[in-house]
């Protein structure tokens, strides 16, 4: 009966029950992480309702005066927001009193304009990078061959971030640089795509290896899909990113991390 009514209504009225989101309530978005032996970093913004009439000015959506805290169960620290043009949006919340420790669980709480979000994460054990070699394709390259320690158990999730010092101001996730480890394999390719910047001779390049848990792995896979195919045409996606932020969007992840730097010769 319900189906018949739907058909009749559509026939008669020819109207659509489109969802309208222009007045959707804004939510907090977290981009935050804490690495093993590293300090926490949190970027905080608000969601923007899509507007086909006017451009969205991101500066209007930065949660500049938010209260951000991180607790490791024993200690709670407040992260201080300051302008940092190495990131966009250029307001970053940091704290240099707390360092990430392998195995510990961290809870992030952020409050802004009456909205509070919370996220929990754990830092898994870090794995080591043993060597990094650029794959030469003439004078430039976007690919690095990374050798990791050879006793990583099969089925672990790892991910690479990379950065060219002086050309880039932060680390970017490497496209397809997300792997499930395999028995007997210790060489992986890191494709530096995000900023479309090639490695050139003389560049100082850094690679980070993160050990991910299952949810983080799922998040970054969905991220690559959204970034590369969201708004795509032939291959399209309408899948939202998963999130570990209760009451908001984005991520707060703890990583077991290792860093390797080299100068391209």
């Amino acid at each position: 009966m319900e189906k018949i009514i739907v058909v009749l209504l559509l026939l008669l009225a020819s109207c659509d029950n489109y969802e309208k989101y222009n007045s959707a309530e804004e939510k907090l978005v977290v981009e935050g992480w804490i690495e093993s032996d590293g300090f926490p970093v949190v970027l905080l913004t608000m969601t923007a309702a899509p507007d086909i009439a006017e451009d969205i000015n991101l500066a209007d959506y930065i949660a500049k005066y938010a209260k951000v805290t991180i607790s490791d169960g024993d200690t709670t620290v407040i992260l201080t927001g300051s302008v940092d043009k190495n990131y966009y949006p250029p307001v970053v919340f940091k704290n240099y009193d707390m360092r990430g420790v392998e195995g510990k669980e961290y809870t992030l709480t952020a409050t802004y304009e009456g909205k509070t979000v919370q996220a929990r994460t754990q830092i898994l054990c870090p794995y080591d990078i043993e060597d990094v070699v650029p794959v030469s394709t003439g004078d430039t390259s976007r690919i690095l061959d990374v050798t990791v320690q050879d006793n990583i158990p099969a089925g672990e999730k790892i991910m690479f971030f990379s950065r060219i010092w002086h050309k880039e101001t932060r680390f970017y996730p490497s496209l397809l640089g997300i792997y499930e480890t395999e028995m007997g394999r210790n060489k992986y390719s890191v494709y530096h795509e995000i900023k479309s910047t090639d490695f050139s001779r003389g560049d100082s390049v850094a690679v980070k290896l993160y050990h991910l848990d299952d949810f983080q792995f799922k998040f970054w896979q969905a991220y690559f899909n959204a970034v590369n195919f969201g708004g795509g045409f032939v291959i399209s996606t309408d899948k939202s990113l998963p999130s570990n932020i209760e009451g908001g969007y984005g991520y707060f992840f703890g990583y077991g991390a290792d860093l390797w730097s080299l100068i391209l010769e």
């Binding site: 189906k3 981009e31 923007a48 690919i143 397809l176 195919f229 939202s240």
Partner: protein
């Protein structure tokens, strides 16, 4: 065993027929039959539409190429979700639920240039047959419509040919008589897109290349008046590549290969037996310096079909019996790369069908079709089967012919992929314990009224289909890189329904002819993962108006126009946008709960035909087609882009390729 017994029985009947029939073959002088020329479309009371492929070459063309499958799209009830779509949705069904056949063999992906036009070279075919929801018991195991490409089979007495030079491709079709009994038709087409349409290949960050070729061969051997053998072969190849700046290159190529051999016997009992082989292969290759990513998939099938029909009881009853046996091989999409993933091994399965149907004339005005098909599908681990009854009641009343139809249809193959527009990389998978056979219970009522001695007819059809075990793919491309990837784990099945009406009025004789169609349809699907509520399918087109008008001026000029209006297709709205690692991320609302703006477009063509003076057998045709005469920028996609220079998120629309687009072509028929 039962299958073999049935085959034996059928052969026995045919053999008996052959002995009883008196074979008389006689050469006669030329017979002249005069009749007013009918154009393009014929339709029967069950909504079965026959399009003349040959006559299409005189009218509208896409980039210089006449395309019979595009003409199917001008009929009410047939549609696509996009100008770029590779597929035809019939009455709200998915593309993969439409059966497209060539002389008894399935064609799995009959599209060139990402669906902008099909592989169907019109000069090689005589007709295109289109059925929507009313089928007979021998219908293939699909839930939706049927499109059958019928090659030319006319007995040739002299060499014939059709040459077409367009701005996209050149084709040649030759008809060669080989003795009194054998006629051979051969066609080939090659493209040269960069020559005139290099703009189509422009890409934001790289250089694209694209080419295609297709070839058809049909050989008809008439052993005698009652028996003929028809051999068909078809091959097409598409090759698309893009070299991005830096060291990244992408290549996508796909091929169809189809062949069939059919023995047709006409007598007191008609018999047809067909052996076929058909396959489709798609390969996506990405190279990033030394790293390679290969994403192949394929489907292939071979088998036999037979069909016997014999009139009984003073020709008031026709009994139809038949069956088929087909082996399938499938390689679902997988990845072989340095980044992970694994190739899927081929899976093998068998499909069998046995059907029986009786067409019985109850009175002068009432007839009934009762039949059933038993189909089964054996995979390596499971066996699925079911009975598909067919019941059609035809009757005449108030000057109209009516058909009321009920049937259950089954489909043992699903198609999944990452593209709503039906990219060639969408791959087929067989049914399993988790992904059950698709079924539909279909009810329809069709009505046909002929006026002016059949020159004008009105055909209307109302339908309702309840569909079950519909698959929705929830994976993403990066899932393919998992070592444990299995497509089945990312598929959810749900149910739904399609309902609507199609109305068509056509005039098929005179200087002014054409058709006008209106379709209203809803196609709703319900998946637990999407909230367990009925949501529009991507193929739902609420309102669709199609007008095809032609006007012939004298014997040389033909003006044609096609207007198409469609309600905006369902899309998933963006609820929020936000930024992660300096990239715009969209948070989506309810699946398909919004719509693009309405679509409309007017195409126009003028054809000039010239008969050779010295060589009367030569017929020259020059065709000018303008796609989208008034340049409507139909939206295909909405998205948001981050402009780093001003730190603003900007709304963007991607419009259809079909803006104001003229094309010129020249054809020669001899």
């Amino acid at each position: 065993m039962a299958f073999a017994a049935l085959a034996f029985l059928l052969f026995s009947v045919v053999d008996a027929n052959a002995q009883n029939d008196t074979i008389i073959e006689r050469d006669v002088d030329e017979i002249v039959i005069k009749a007013e020329k009918k154009h393009n479309i014929s339709v029967n009371s069950e909504g079965r539409i026959t399009l003349s492929a040959q006559q299409m070459t005189n009218t509208l063309r896409v980039l210089g190429e006449a395309d019979p499958l595009k003409f199917v799209l001008m009929l009410p009830g047939a549609g696509t979700s996009s100008d770029y779509a590779s597929g035809i949705s019939v009455q709200g069904c998915d593309y993969s639920q439409t059966y497209i056949g060539l002389s008894g063999a399935p064609v799995f992906f009959p599209y060139h240039l990402f669906g902008i036009f099909s592989v169907c070279n019109p000069t090689h075919f005589s007709d295109v047959i289109f059925e929507k929801s009313i089928h007979t018991a021998d219908f293939e195991n699909r839930l939706g419509g049927m499109i059958e490409l019928v090659p030319r089979q006319k007995k040739l007495k002299r060499l014939t040919g059709d040459f077409n030079f367009g701005m996209l491709a050149t084709s040649l079709t030759m008809g060669v008589p080989c003795g009194k009994k054998l006629s051979v038709y051969a066609s080939a087409r090659v493209s040269y897109i960069p020559l005139f349409y290099s703009s189509l290949l422009r890409s934001g960050e790289g250089v694209a290349s694209y080419s295609f070729q297709d070839a058809n061969l049909t050989a008809v051997y008439r052993y005698n008046f009652y028996n003929k053998l028809v051999f068909n072969a078809f091959y097409d190849n598409d090759d698309f590549g893009i070299q991005e700046t830096g060291s990244v290159a992408l290549n996508l190529d796909w091929q169809n290969y189809v062949s069939s051999l059919t023995w047709e016997h006409e007598g007191k009992a008609d018999f047809k037996m067909c052996a076929f082989y058909s396959g489709f292969r798609s390969a996506l290759n990405i190279s990033m310096a030394k790293n390679k990513i290969d994403v192949p998939s394929q489907i292939y099938t071979s088998g036999i079909k037979f069909h016997l029909s014999r009139p009984l009881v003073e020709d008031r009853t026709v009994i139809r019996l038949g069956g088929s046996l087909a082996a399938y091989g499938l390689q679902p999409q997988g990845v072989e790369s340095d980044f992970g993933g694994r190739l899927n091994p081929d899976t093998h399965s068998m499909e069998h069908n046995v059907f029986a149907q009786a067409d019985h004339k109850l009175t002068q005005k009432i007839s009934i079709v009762v039949g059933a098909k038993f189909s089964g599908f054996k995979t390596e681990n499971d066996y699925f089967c079911g009975l598909s009854p067919v019941l059609t009641l035809n009757f005449n009343a108030l000057g109209c012919e009516y058909s009321a139809h009920y049937s259950i249809y089954r489909q043992y193959l699903h198609q999944i992929g990452f593209s709503d527009v039906g990219l060639s990389t969408n791959s087929w998978i067989e049914v399993s314990k988790k992904i059950k056979p698709q079924t539909s219970s279909s009810v329809s009522l069709s009505c046909l009224r002929n006026m002016s001695g059949g020159d004008i007819c009105v055909q209307a059809e109302a339908y309702y289909k309840k569909v079950d075990s519909q698959s929705e793919f929830f994976g993403n491309i990066f899932d393919l890189f998992s070592k444990n990837y299995a497509a089945e784990n990312y598929i959810e099945t749900g149910n739904g329904y399609n309902a609507g009406i199609d109305v068509m009025i056509k005039k098929s004789a005179g200087k002014f002819y054409g058709s006008a169609g209106y379709a209203f349809g809803v196609a709703r699907r319900k998946f637990q993962k999407l909230g367990d509520t009925y949501l529009p399918s991507s193929n739902e087109v609420l309102h669709n108006v199609k007008l095809n008008l032609n006007y012939r001026i004298g014997r040389k000029w033909l003006l044609s126009s096609l207007f198409n209006y469609a309600s905006g297709r369902p899309v998933t709205p963006i609820k929020y946008v936000y930024m992660i690692t300096e990239k715009i991320i969209a948070e989506y609302g309810q699946h398909n709960s919004s719509r693009l703006s309405d679509y409309h477009r007017l195409d126009f063509s003028v054809s000039y035909q010239l008969q050779g003076k010295k060589h009367a057998g030569l017929l020259h045709t020059i065709n000018l087609t303008i796609i989208n005469v008034y340049g409507k920028e139909n939206t295909e996609l909405r998205y948001y882009k981050f402009d780093m220079d001003v730190n603003k998120i900007k709304y963007r629309e991607k419009n259809s390729l079909f803006r104001f687009m003229p094309s010129l072509s020249y054809s020669l028929h001899f």
